[in-house]
Symmetry: C2
Subunit: 438 residues, 2 copies
């Protein structure tokens, strides 16, 4: 999925690459500020970063997709209303508290939008709000309003890196992807899947471009590209209440080729989505599942998701254990429950290019078992370090490589296909979500 | 769900209670034998236990339900055929290898049934086979045939405890439940959810009774009682390829009251199902979710399952962290995807009897947060011990108590309800399934 196979030997190496991707498209500025506050529901102080993405001139050309969770955060409620605003002028993002099902949540989001608009000389309906972090807590609105002027004063047109760093929670590193198209740029940043105190992950994605694509085309394209990118990943099968993908064009550069723009947009989204998995909670292996020759693409997609969400298989991958029995279990569970008419006699499966299943039976021997284990070891991002005070922490704060555990599932019964990305299930995941105390 | 709230202070204490439950109903004998063999697919020797459950006289009155996984094990294929046999005379069970999608698997199961039948002077179609363990490996049929005479010679009519011990894999302890009804007994044993070398869990349940219930009623009752018992639990959302629940009556004692028998059968099944969760992979908290006032029981059931299968919430429970935001996330994910018309403004939720959500917003404060954490600590089965050589192992080999994390979800929109049981997600689970090497 990644357009290139990158490798990084150190955090500095990775940061240098990020900086090279980070040039803002024409017509955008970003600024951040960080401050301390005491949550109403918790006794001890916490720190929050406020991130402002501003357009030099408001634009009619913007698109956004939001979580399908039935408990959307207040910023999602406001954001859906913003889609009918004539123009968008800014995006204001806070981390630490997600403003979900908190009393007065929508009013809080609107007050922050209004204050942001005032600083920029805009209407509050031109400001898109986002929040990520603890679910259930209330936003410290006064502290945020107090921090807004400093955030505004920090606006610069040089790099998106400050925003990529400002929106993260427990992400190990910022995520930036870019593309050159039609004489302009597309630059995207992503946050997630990370935790603030043990609490719910959120994926936030902001994609900026100076290429002029009308609102209608922009929204249609975004709807198409999220399916093979952000909708094709799963860290732990939990759906955030705040997921947001926003795409904004400053319209500075005419679009010579809409199809080329959509291809570039799709590449940026797919690479960012893969980055999100690679930096997922405790992920030490990225698992790529390609399902082909299915009767429908929805079946191919669902089977891939069934594999990357099967806890026992995810644990086996974490242990570099090629436990292909669990692959078969996961497929059989889904087919038995949802597609009982599927002829599994036609199923063929490969792991790391090695055939493991055909004709209804496993194709295994001791030699293959050793080769399968070697494939898993080669795809491991880092080896697990012993726990400190019982807590397992990731051993890297950069992505050492982009290799995946490669699974191919051939259903032999149609022509539809799908590719999905997931992670393994590790001690680092449990430590992140059970052991940390705040 | 448990008919009584038991507490055990030691393994000896628990074993004494098991022995008191273990008297066989009239007309049954059990025997086991253990032997060593070298798997065809693995270099080092392994140990297998063979368990034989025999009726003194074959019976027409037996019932069984099997996994819905689309890759059923060979014993499941044979077992489904056995349902149309006029009579059942014995059940033969092996652990260590599950005989799923292995070349010649059905022939292997039939050879073992034939040899068992010959020892008992029966027809092979009167023998129900079961296997549990590694998926993908082939059964050591010759070694099993060689061990059958010793297994047969070990048959005794006194206690079911040898069988309860013989069918386990990595279960921490055997599981037995019984009931007295209509002047006779119902005795059930369960295996699972455990692992043999990191591999797929199987649940095996055998319920024996001397109360005479005709085949048709027996099968209808079993179909009814598995829904609120074994179908209402989840350790890790993975569906085994070998799950089996068999119910056999020796018909020695007339049934005075079919309804009373079904109530007793339901209690035995519900208690065994809860035992399976309590002894699940790395489970340190049993989570009981009661969903009520739902429009349909299927919605109530699915919402409960969505909660007990939400990894982030399971991790929070493992850490005694009352992260109710994750409860809301899990419910919102399911409703958003599958029941979008549900009016969540009517939702009320309690954790440990404490109201946490109502009127669309959380009902939290610092005092409640402390009380919620105390409830989780009180329901913990054991505290996690530091890892030895990086591996987390359970600190107990008996169930210290039967307390659960108690969640009530009131949808306020109907009259249907459901209760489901799940476990937390712990380091012990990951160690069981990723760290152990064979």
């Amino acid at each position: 999925m990644a357009s290139t196979q990158l490798e990084f030997s150190s955090r500095a190496d990775h940061r240098a690459w990020l900086a090279a991707q980070a040039a803002l498209p024409l017509g955008f500025r970003v600024g951040t500020s960080r401050f301390e506050f005491v949550p109403r529901e918790a006794p001890k102080p916490a720190r929050m970063t406020l991130t402002l993405i501003a357009l030099d001139e408001p634009t009619t050309d913007f698109a956004a997709v939001f979580t399908r969770n039935a408990f959307p955060g207040a910023p999602i409620v406001v954001g859906r209303a913003r889609l009918s605003s004539p123009e968008l002028g800014a995006i204001i993002v806070n981390n630490k508290i997600s403003n979900v099902c908190a009393p007065g949540g929508v009013d809080a989001a609107e007050r922050i939008c209004a204050a942001t608009a005032q600083l920029l000389g805009r209407k509050s309906t031109e400001v898109l709000p986002s929040s990520t972090g603890v679910i259930g807590w209330t936003l410290p609105v006064d502290a945020i309003l107090a921090a807004l002027p400093a955030t505004h004063a920090a606006l610069t047109a040089t790099s998106i890196l400050p925003a990529a760093e400002g929106i993260v929670t427990t992400d190990l590193y910022p995520k930036i992807r870019c593309a050159e198209v039609s004489g302009g740029r597309i630059v995207g940043i992503a946050k997630g899947a990370g935790m603030i105190e043990p609490n719910l992950a959120t994926m936030l994605v902001y994609i900026l471009t100076d290429v002029a694509v009308p609102r209608a085309e922009l929204r249609a394209m975004l709807t198409r590209v999220v399916q093979p990118s952000f909708n094709a990943i799963s860290i732990d099968s939990d759906t955030s209440t705040s997921d947001t993908v926003a795409l904004v064009s400053s319209g500075r550069i005419p679009c010579a080729d809409l199809a080329a723009f959509e291809r570039a947009l799709r590449t940026v989204c797919c690479d960012l989505a893969e980055d999100v998995v690679r930096n997922g909670e405790g992920v030490r292996h990225v698992i790529r599942v390609h399902v082909k020759n299915a009767v429908t693409s929805s079946l191919a997609f669902a089977l891939g998701k069934a594999v990357i969400n099967a806890p026992l298989f995810k644990c086996a991958v974490a242990g570099n254990d090629a436990n292909v029995g669990r692959l078969v279990q996961a497929i059989g569970k889904y087919v038995g429950a949802h597609a009982p008419d599927t002829d599994l006699q036609r199923l063929r499966m490969w792991l790391g290019g090695i055939e493991i299943f055909a004709g209804g039976v496993f194709q295994l021997d001791r030699t293959k078992e050793a080769a399968l284990a070697a494939h898993l070891q080669h795809a491991e991002l880092y080896t697990s370090a012993p726990p400190q005070n019982g807590v397992f922490a990731p051993a890297v704060d950069f992505p050492p490589h982009e290799r995946c555990v490669e699974i191919v599932i051939d259903l032999g019964s149609g022509s539809a296909e799908a590719t999905v990305f997931g992670g393994d299930l590790t001690h680092e995941y449990v430590s992140e979500n059970a052991d940390y105390r705040s």
